[in-house]
């Protein structure tokens, strides 16, 4: 299983750069862009992806992850020996979008990824400081 590295944006401390124009622009960005991180059951990925695409989401990052919540793990048996496997395979979807789309996206993921059984996963919404398209240098919402 690939270990997923979270790229942490190094947020400059406000007291040092409080006069910096770029920084203030970024703070404004926090209000207009969000990242949705959804941990879902792997077999629900296709439905969620199709739903988000139809909603107008243009890209996403998907990672195979392992973890546990209330579902905990399952048992495996090898030659009669039983092992408790705590980490259950899940898929993590990361999508950055316009803040206005977030309620709709949450509802959609909830609808598509839900089975009603324990272990359906979670949705996290995280503020995004800035987005830069590497090729063109566009920033902000245009770069999503």
């Amino acid at each position: 299983m690939k270990k997923e590295d979270l790229i942490l944006v190094n947020i400059t401390k406000p007291d040092i750069v409080s006069n910096d124009k770029a920084y203030r622009k970024n703070r404004k960005g926090v209000k207009i862009m969000k990242k949705i991180e959804a941990i879902i059951k792997p077999f629900k990925l296709e439905e969620v992806k199709d739903g988000l695409s139809r909603m107008g989401v243009k890209g996403m990052t998907v990672t195979e992850v392992k973890g546990f919540g209330r579902q905990r793990g399952h048992k495996e048996v090898y030659r009669g020996a039983e092992y408790q496997v705590d980490f259950v395979p899940k898929v993590k979807i990361e999508v950055v979008m316009d803040s206005k789309l977030v309620p709709q996206a949450i509802a959609l993921i909830q609808e598509k990824a839900r089975t009603g059984k324990i272990g359906d996963g979670k949705i996290f919404v995280i503020p995004v400081e800035e987005v830069v398209r590497i090729r063109t240098g566009e920033t902000g919402k245009e770069a999503i």
Partner: protein, 406 residues
């Protein structure tokens, strides 16, 4: 000299050769991914180690001119006198060299079987030293006792068609000694030792099953009816045991497993090995059906007893081989092989007693000798890798490479 027999024995030798890489896959898949290469290596490199040993002194010790029923002399050192003409004693219709190379493959796979017991924690240097000493001091004498002309177990009248005592009991019991001496893997009881690649294990089991036709049918040393009988009963026992193993699992744990099917097939092959030249198809069915009960029970018992035989060599080869040797004493019939003997169910309870004695001698000899050899190896180079190296895995710590890079 018979060309058909010669062709058959040479092809059988190639089949038995393939069992060792097959065993490497069978074991490698059951190890964790940080130890896959070291586990493969401990089988594969034995092709190198034992071939050299066999050519220099091994074949001569096992099959050379007898000294007091105990050991062969070194008259055939470096295969001196082992030529293209048939030998007087072994396989009168095939070149002596063909018999020698067929036996070489048996000598190779036997120490490879033991490696499953100490997998994932033994130093490579210690493994090499152990393999050479074990082949010289345990395998060669035992092969001489059972198969060598004048060997005392053979003279006692014990039947072992293709190596139940010499190959399977000896390796299985040595595995027990090895697991006890080297100790458990780090994290035993708290970490889950889950097989990292069962498709590899099933592939290995398939290759073992295939190669085993050479092992058992080839032991007829001729392309004849007895070879066909050995071929057929080998197949029946393996098939039945694979089936009975998954049925036991299904009843006991609720699900039939792939590892269970592969384990059962191998256990069936082990059990039929000594009997394959002496029993008929229905006996093979019973031997195969019951071996799974015995081996499955033995493996469950292992966790109660608390020793760490990583890949269940004792459970499958030790117990399966013992059952096979005793079952030969029950089901052997001179109707199948006039050069054999009748077993208990054919009116001769004496054979069962003889088989029991052969088993007991093999158990005691292999166990004690392996304990001594491992103690000596431990004094010379140390058996175990350091805790840190064990954590990192033997692939990187012993061989500077990794099996998978993503």
């Amino acid at each position: 000299m018979n060309t058909g027999d010669t062709a058959f024995v040479l092809i059988s030798s190639a089949l038995v050769m393939l069992m060792t890489p097959g065993l490497a896959l069978f074991y490698g898949g059951m190890a964790r991914n940080k130890n896959v290469l070291s586990t493969l290596m401990q089988s594969f490199i034995i092709l190198g180690i034992i071939t050299v040993e066999w050519v220099l002194w091994g074949y001569s010790m096992a099959f050379g001119p007898d000294h007091a029923g105990i050991i062969g002399g070194l008259d055939w050192f470096g295969l001196k006198g082992v030529g293209m003409e048939p030998s007087a004693d072994y396989g009168s219709t095939i070149p002596h060299m063909a018999f020698m190379v067929f036996q070489c493959m048996f000598a190779i796979i036997t120490p490879a079987l033991i490696t499953g017991a100490f997998a994932e924690r033994m130093k490579f240097s210690a493994f090499m030293l152990f393999t050479i000493l074990w082949a010289t001091l345990v395998y060669n004498p035992l092969a001489h006792w059972v198969w060598g002309v004048g060997g005392w177990i053979g003279k006692m009248g014990a039947l072992d068609f293709a190596g139940g005592t010499v190959v399977h009991i000896s390796s299985g019991i040595s595995a027990l000694a090895a697991a006890l001496i080297i100790g458990r893997r780090r994290g035993y009881g708290t970490t889950a030792f889950i097989p990292h690649n069962l498709p590899m294990t099933v592939t290995g089991a398939g290759l073992l099953w295939f190669g085993w036709f050479g092992f058992n049918a080839g032991s007829a040393l001729a392309c004849n009816g007895l070879a066909a009988n050995a071929f057929v009963v080998t197949h029946i026992a393996s098939a039945t045991a694979a089936l009975s193993w998954i049925i036991i699992e299904w009843l006991h744990r609720g699900k039939p497993t792939t590892l269970g099917a592969a384990s059962g097939a191998v256990a069936g092959l082990v059990a039929i090995t000594p009997a394959s030249g002496f029993v008929g198809p229905l006996a093979a069915l019973i031997i195969g059906a019951l071996v799974s009960v015995i081996c499955y029970g033995g493996i469950l018992l292992k966790s109660r007893l608390g020793y760490d035989d990583s890949l269940d060599v004792v459970g499958i080869h030790g117990l399966g081989g013992t059952w096979g040797a005793l079952a030969t004493g029950l089901f052997a019939s001179t109707l199948i092989n006039p050069h054999g003997a009748n077993g208990l169910f054919f009116g001769n309870p004496g054979l069962l007693w003889t088989q029991f004695r052969a088993v007991a001698v093999t158990w005691i000899f292999a166990f004690i000798m392996t304990l001594i050899i491992l103690k000596v190896v431990d004094m010379i180079v140390g058996l175990r890798v350091t805790d840190e190296d064990e954590e990192r895995g033997l692939d990187i710590s012993q061989h500077n490479e990794t099996g998978y890079s993503f």
